[in-house]
């Protein structure tokens, strides 16, 4: 061994640049924007910066499609000393992340203009954060997963603090940063213990090791696995690691919240799925109960607390916890069907949430002030297209027919039932009903006419923290909870952000009516993950 080392030169690993092309494009675009901003006197114009970002994300999307073609021809390949893998799964995630970047930069454009914040840094950080998410999906080594997680998260911490005129923004960023740093430390400790138990950080080699060895004292392996699950659960906001979610979602600038909700979930679930199903596939009996418990807690707590929120951003935070529970349903099943459903759900949810937060951005007005549920009254009349998009996106989150939400929910539920986890499926259905109530309430508020008197079948808002299940019927009664004279601010709808929101709604409807392409994409991605 030693003599061999002495005589051989360092052999650099071969690099398949196509496998990291989306990441390279996203980071390259960010660096390009940074360089041009520094050189142009007075800074880059906003629309130019946004256009460059959209172009970069489109280029990443197209390069993913080229990758897709290669994967179809050659199958999954690893490169750069097996640290990076290019398969259907990584390509699927790259497509999802790139789509989210396009929508989020369109929506962010108007926000930054309104709040008078310089655009360039926002877009640079969003692009690099997206690169981190893509990298999480294509990493085949725990060290790379950790670095990608940090690239994704640290950029998000700064983005959350992006509005200097809102104290909540800074507070949310500090909370997110401290809790996020803590969870990263837990995650990296999990990696260390896994390395101690298997002697490698490479996922393929972990599979080989676990296939060839039977651990008689698997405590170390299980501790490593458990700590890594904690790290991922924090990222995807699963109960009981969700405490940061409501405050950060509320405090962050609205377009950032949408982007964060989508991209952090994609990245977190991508790495979670790859680690659990690919590296620890043989240990499924160990991690399935953990995922089961996380799913039950996320489904119930997310739905129950969602109903009692008055603030739309907090409501969407609990909604995101609830959705995390649904996606965990598919992970828990650990079958082709389950993973495929989870992937479809992930993609559909990411687009929906960016769109919903786009609407929230536009309705909230200057300084993100009007996030109360009452600000949405009569949105459909005040701004028909925006209101229609909101209605579509909310109904899709509730799982209505002719939207991607229906197939997403049906998919994970049927996957859970098919492996016999019918109690879990039952809990999921109950939580879907509870959260559906909250979505419907917001939908009805935005459909109602502006000047309608409050005493006619007003859908009240629960402010108490009492059990919502019990009050489900009661809240439907007449209540004087909403102020009669709400300041209905004029919704400043600008074409750029509206385009983003409309694209999100269009995606939700089109792939809800014709789910075939997205489903087959998810299916192919699943096959490459499970082999």
């Amino acid at each position: 061994m030693i003599t061999e080392l002495a005589t051989t030169m360092i052999k650099m690993p071969s690099i398949d640049y196509l496998a990291i092309l989306p990441v390279l494009i996203l980071i390259g675009g960010a660096v390009l924007i940074m360089a041009i901003t520094a050189m142009v006197p007075g800074g880059l114009r906003r629309d130019v910066a946004t256009a460059m970002t959209v172009t970069t994300a489109l280029a990443a999307l197209i390069s993913s499609l080229v990758e897709w073609h290669r994967v179809l021809v050659q199958g999954a390949t690893t490169t750069i000393a097996h640290a990076i893998v290019m398969d259907g799964f990584s390509v699927f995630m790259a497509i999802a992340v790139s789509s989210c970047v396009i929508l989020a930069s369109l929506i962010g454009h108007d926000y930054l203009k309104r709040e008078d914040i310089s655009s360039a840094e926002y877009l640079i950080l969003a692009l690099i954060s997206a690169a981190g998410a893509v990298l999480m999906a294509s990493a085949n080594d725990l060290v790379v997963i950790f670095l990608a997680l940090e690239i994704l998260s640290i950029a998000l911490y700064v983005l959350v603090a992006f509005n200097p005129r809102r104290a909540e923004s800074g507070e949310a960023a500090l909370k997110y940063f401290i809790l996020g740093g803590f969870s990263s430390a837990v995650f990296v400790y999990g990696i260390a213990l896994t390395y101690g138990a298997t002697g490698t950080t490479n996922l393929t080699q972990i599979v080989d090791f676990l296939g060839q060895n039977t651990a008689q004292h698997p405590g170390l392996l299980y501790a490593g696995l458990g700590l890594m699950i904690v790290g991922f659960a924090f990222k995807v906001a699963a109960v009981p690691f969700h405490f940061w979610t409501p405050d950060v979602y509320q405090g962050a600038p609205s377009p950032v919240t949408g982007f964060m909700a989508a991209v952090a979930k994609i990245g977190g679930f991508a790495a979670l799925l790859r680690v659990l199903l690919s590296a620890f596939g043989t240990q499924a009996a160990t991690w399935q109960p953990i995922i089961y418990a996380l799913a039950v807690a996320s489904l119930l707590l997310g739905a129950l607390l969602m109903v009692v929120q008055r603030d739309v951003k907090r409501m969407m935070a609990y909604s995101s916890i609830n959705h995390a529970g649904f996606i965990l349903l598919g992970v828990e099943a650990a079958t082709t069907r389950g993973v495929q459903a989870a992937l479809y759900y992930l993609f559909a949810y990411a687009i929906m949430t960016v769109g919903v937060f786009g609407v929230i951005t536009l309705v909230s007005g200057n300084g993100d002030r009007d996030t109360d549920i009452a600000s949405y009254r009569g949105l459909l009349r005040r701004s028909p297209l925006l209101g229609a998009c909101l209605v579509v996106l909310l109904l899709a989150q509730a799982g209505a027919p002719f939207t991607t939400g229906l197939f997403a929910k049906l998919g994970v539920l049927s996957a859970a039932v098919s492996v016999g986890s019918w109690p879990l499926a039952l809990i999921a259905m109950v939580s879907a009903v509870i959260s559906g109530f909250a979505y419907l309430r917001l939908t009805l508020i935005s459909v109602r006419p502006v000047g309608a008197p409050t005493d006619v079948d007003e859908l009240g808002v629960e402010t108490g923290v009492s059990a919502p299940m019990h009050h489900l019927g009661a809240t439907l009664m007449l209540e004087e909870e909403l102020p009669t004279e709400v300041e209905i601010a004029h919704v400043g709808v600008s074409p750029v952000a509206l385009t983003g929101v409309t694209l999100a709604a269009a995606f939700t409807i089109i792939f809800g009516i014709v789910p075939g392409p997205l489903l087959s994409l998810a299916h192919a991605a699943t096959m490459s993950l499970l082999g």
Partner: protein, 199 residues
Amino acid sequence: MTSLLATTVAIPDVIVFAAGAVMIMIGALGVITSRNPVHAALSLILTLFGIAVLFIEQQADFLAAVQVIVYAGAIVVLFLFVIMFLGVDRNEDLDAEPLAGQRSMAFVIVLMAVGAIIALGAEAHWVVGPHSVSGVPGGPYQNVYNLGRSVFTTYLFAFEATAALLVIAVVGAVVLARRSGAANAEQPDGQPENEEVAS
């Protein structure tokens, strides 16, 4: 496969380990009990130095050097800078508990965590062995050689990916440093100033 506690350990190793462990413990206690934040930061140096001693005991010489230079040197100096900026004369009120019972809770949780780690170390089978695998003791190929190799082979991509973190650090620092300026003096013309990015 070996269990950590089952391996026989030479007497000098035990002595070095004990010395390092005592340094770490004294330093760590100093960090949480010092009223003066400067003293706490200095105690942290002792802890980090003790960890460097443990690295040497594990024959990870290069890591020990990095530990002293980067952590005991640069990072604690950074801490001290921040403390000096905020004012050294402010003593922390250690008796205040913002969250009732948080100290006893922390004590219990730490005890549990330590117990779990000891149990894991004693019972579990470690594949990587109790000693550093990156260097052969006394052999001609030392840590630096092996680390250098893995940075350019096995962990090439991870090494390169840290570049993205540096870009985030630069941009993030500019964004967060500007917020104080933006809060104090509103830019009347709304033109973002971008000089900082160039510097």
